[in-house]
């Protein structure tokens, strides 16, 4: 076997490496993910964990926005009822600055 991967077409070699390592990540168990997170001092079970950095909007969208504008057939296949536009509340801009809570202030859970 060659000692280095650099002699061959590097793009193809990188594609194969990335694909194989991606499969390894797909095969990783929840326990392995938890162990890796703990190595980093993260607790994925904790709300606001740094492990979810970059994914926060995937996790924290209010349910009343969920089904807006999606293909009805897809939603039906997923077992999710569609909603009429009139049932939907306003969709806030995610680019707007988020209000931070002061210590002791309760979180508004009216949308949850």
């Amino acid at each position: 076997m060659r000692k280095s991967v650099s002699a061959e077409r590097p793009e193809a070699a990188l594609a194969r490496i990335v694909s194989a390592l991606g499969q390894e990540l797909l095969d990783a168990s929840d326990e392995e993910i938890l162990a890796a997170a703990k190595d980093l001092g993260m607790n994925p079970g904790m709300k606001g964990s740094a492990a979810f950095l970059g994914l926060k909007y995937l996790r924290h969208a209010p349910p009343e926005w969920w089904l807006e504008g999606f293909d009805a057939a897809l939603l039906a296949r997923l077992g999710m009822p569609g909603r009429e536009p009139s049932e939907l509340g306003p969709v806030p801009s995610l680019t707007a600055p988020r209000r931070s809570r002061r210590p002791g202030q309760k979180k508004d859970r009216s949308h949850e």
Binding site: M1, R2, S4, V5, S6, E8, R9, P10, E11, A12, A13, L14, A15, R16, I17, V18, S19, A20, L21, G22, E24, L25, L26, D27, A28, D30, E32, I33, L34, A36, A37, D39, L40, M42, P44, A50, A51, F52, L53, G54, L55, Y57, L58, R59, A61, P62, W65, W66, L67, E68, G69, F70, D71, A73, L74, L78, M80, V91, L94, T95
Partner: protein, 200 residues
């Protein structure tokens, strides 16, 4: 009017429905798995495309119905397959030039890779020194991740050559137990790297 792919992904980002529906499609551990895979797949992509774009674009395509989830394929595997196809499409687009390729072509390229088990390799055989250098740098960065583990590096070299696990074990004289042990170490390093948002 052609839009860069990343702009299309950005266009989808403000839609909270996609993100929330994705939450219903995958568990929190799957989200983390998806993040680590996206960060891996983002390696070697043009600098204006990051791992978040890959995830958002993949979710957008799934939710819009542009990509159909085959029966028996889990959502996480399907999303990972879509991201891999997008990676190929981004790379192809970067090579051919954004101004020369229609957005429609990207859709077709990604849709053509519906089979999540396929390995996406650049199909254009024309050599491109700039992208070759970039790929070499990414390979070197991946090798640095496992710098202290000679067995894992041997496995990675085997993967780069397209060898199967059996072929790598045979070529390197690695037992099945040692191979599985090396894979676990490899996964741990990849997960640790992928869960953070820092650079190497």
């Amino acid at each position: 009017m052609l839009k860069p792919i990343c702009k299309r992904a950005d266009h989808f980002v403000p839609s909270p429905a996609a993100r929330a529906l994705a939450l219903n499609l995958v568990t929190e551990f799957d989200l983390l798995r998806l993040k680590t895979i996206a960060r891996l797949y983002a390696r070697g992509l043009p600098p204006d495309v990051d791992w978040g774009d890959l995830i958002q674009e993949a979710i957008a395509r799934v939710l819009s119905g542009a990509r159909r989830q085959p029966e028996g394929v889990t959502t996480i595997v399907f999303l990972a397959g879509v991201m891999r196809s997008l990676r190929t499409a981004y790379l192809r687009r970067a090579r051919t030039g954004a101004g020369q390729q229609r957005e429609k072509s990207l859709e077709q390229a990604a849709a053509a890779d519906d089979d999540a088990s396929r390995i996406d390799e650049p199909r254009d055989p024309a050599p491109d020194p700039e992208h070759a250098v970039s790929a070499l740098q990414e390979i070197a960065a991946i090798e640095r991740l496992f710098g202290g583990d000679a067995m894992v590096l041997r496995i990675i070299h085997g993967l780069a050559e397209g060898l199967s696990a059996e072929q790598i074990r045979s070529a390197c004289g690695i037992t099945a137990v040692d191979y599985d042990s090396a894979r676990k170490r490899m996964r741990r390093v990849l997960l640790r790297e992928g869960l953070t948002c820092g650079n190497l």
